[in-house]
Subunit: 221 residues, 2 copies
């Protein structure tokens, strides 16, 4: 996993570098917009961390430049206003983190984005249920089952990590992204609705005290 860190403040840049290297990522650094474009083009990246306030080329221009490549981007910026956040995410960023940030939060968000943008199966079949990630159609025994956006995203996350116990936090962060401000019973309800609609009472297992796990027969792997 290689990460491109675009950040003009060398203190912050170094901090991020140390943190990520420590966590096993390879990092390279750009300190202004021009450098960033060059480095970005030089080879493919798994993730870009982008500061919005940069010398030479604005962060937004850079984001526009990066977006078509589909490389995941996390914006790291002091401009903590809602507008910037929305604008950034609308322009194709995958997440947004405000300075000053907690190292743990940075790491968590990076992991979440990497997981979220990992390639997914187009079609998944199990026990008469078929989940099509392209058409976003879910069928059970041939009948179409209408799932809402949140339900679909949640199911999709569980399936893409099948036989893995996912914590409530992970699930919230994947499905609800930045609108997650702590525990409620929302997740439970969505789980309930999915189980009900698909007859998956025994497939989506509750992992008590942790979260949930989508269990298939070939579990042990």
């Amino acid at each position: 996993m290689n990460i491109l860190i675009i950040e003009d403040d060398k203190t912050i840049s170094a901090l991020m570098g140390r943190t990520l290297t420590g966590a096993g990522y390879d990092c390279e650094f750009a300190f202004d917009g021009e450098e960033a474009e060059e480095l970005f083009d030089s080879h493919p990246w798994d993730l870009v961390l982008l500061d919005l306030m940069l010398p030479k080329v604005s962060g937004y221009d850079l984001l526009e430049y990066i977006a078509p490549s589909k490389t995941p981007v996390i914006i790291v910026s002091a401009m903590g206003q809602v507008n910037d956040r929305i604008r950034g995410l609308k322009m194709g960023a995958d997440d947004y983190i405000c300075k000053p940030f907690q190292v743990a939060e940075l790491l968590a968000r990076i992991e979440a984005v990497i997981r979220r943008t990992a390639p997914t199966d187009d079609v998944f079949d199990y026990k008469g249920v078929s989940v099509n990630n392209v058409s976003r159609v879910v069928t059970k025994d041939g009948e179409t089952v209408p799932l809402t956006v949140k339900e679909f995203d949640l199911l999709s996350m569980l399936i893409n990590n099948r036989n893995v116990a996912l914590s409530r936090k992970q699930l919230y962060e994947y499905v609800w992204k930045e609108e997650y401000y702590g525990e409620t019973r929302t997740l439970d309800n969505h789980i309930k609705r999915i189980r009900q609609k698909l007859g998956y009472e025994d497939v989506i297992k509750t992992v008590f005290g942790i979260g949930y796990r989508f269990e298939t027969e070939e579990a042990g792997c």
Copy 2:
């Protein structure tokens, strides 16, 4: 999707290879004209990236050789003059990109060409409705149904991506291109008129929270 990269400069060739592999394409490489002809004939390709300055066989000859096969070609060349560009496109290339290029631009153009040259049916028939992409004539039960430009483009996009949930954004960007400045109810109205004119109320499905999907019987695939 497999792409043939014809490029004698190994640095550039490798850069393209990394980029495209990272984006999920399969790549193979030819470093001179002879190799290129051989490899090109060995099996079918979805796309050819062609450098015009090559050892042994000139890029133009190669283009002439490739053109009859209808395989999409993007010329990648340092000869950035208008003449070359025109000559290349006249000879049947689908796009032209100049060195040095930005990786993001390369990817964007590749995607555009693939989308553009994707086998669109000249004629599409479904439930008594016939859509002719060449004459732009639409008939229902033998009667001609007059569609406006926007309506036709929209319908065409939906049909060419049938059974795929297309986001509102994608639809806006395809039909309205750069005149898209955010959400209004324009798209809804066009969808409504198409449904009405063609009796497609149940064929063009609303994907709540996402956009629309043109659904045919063989949906599950």
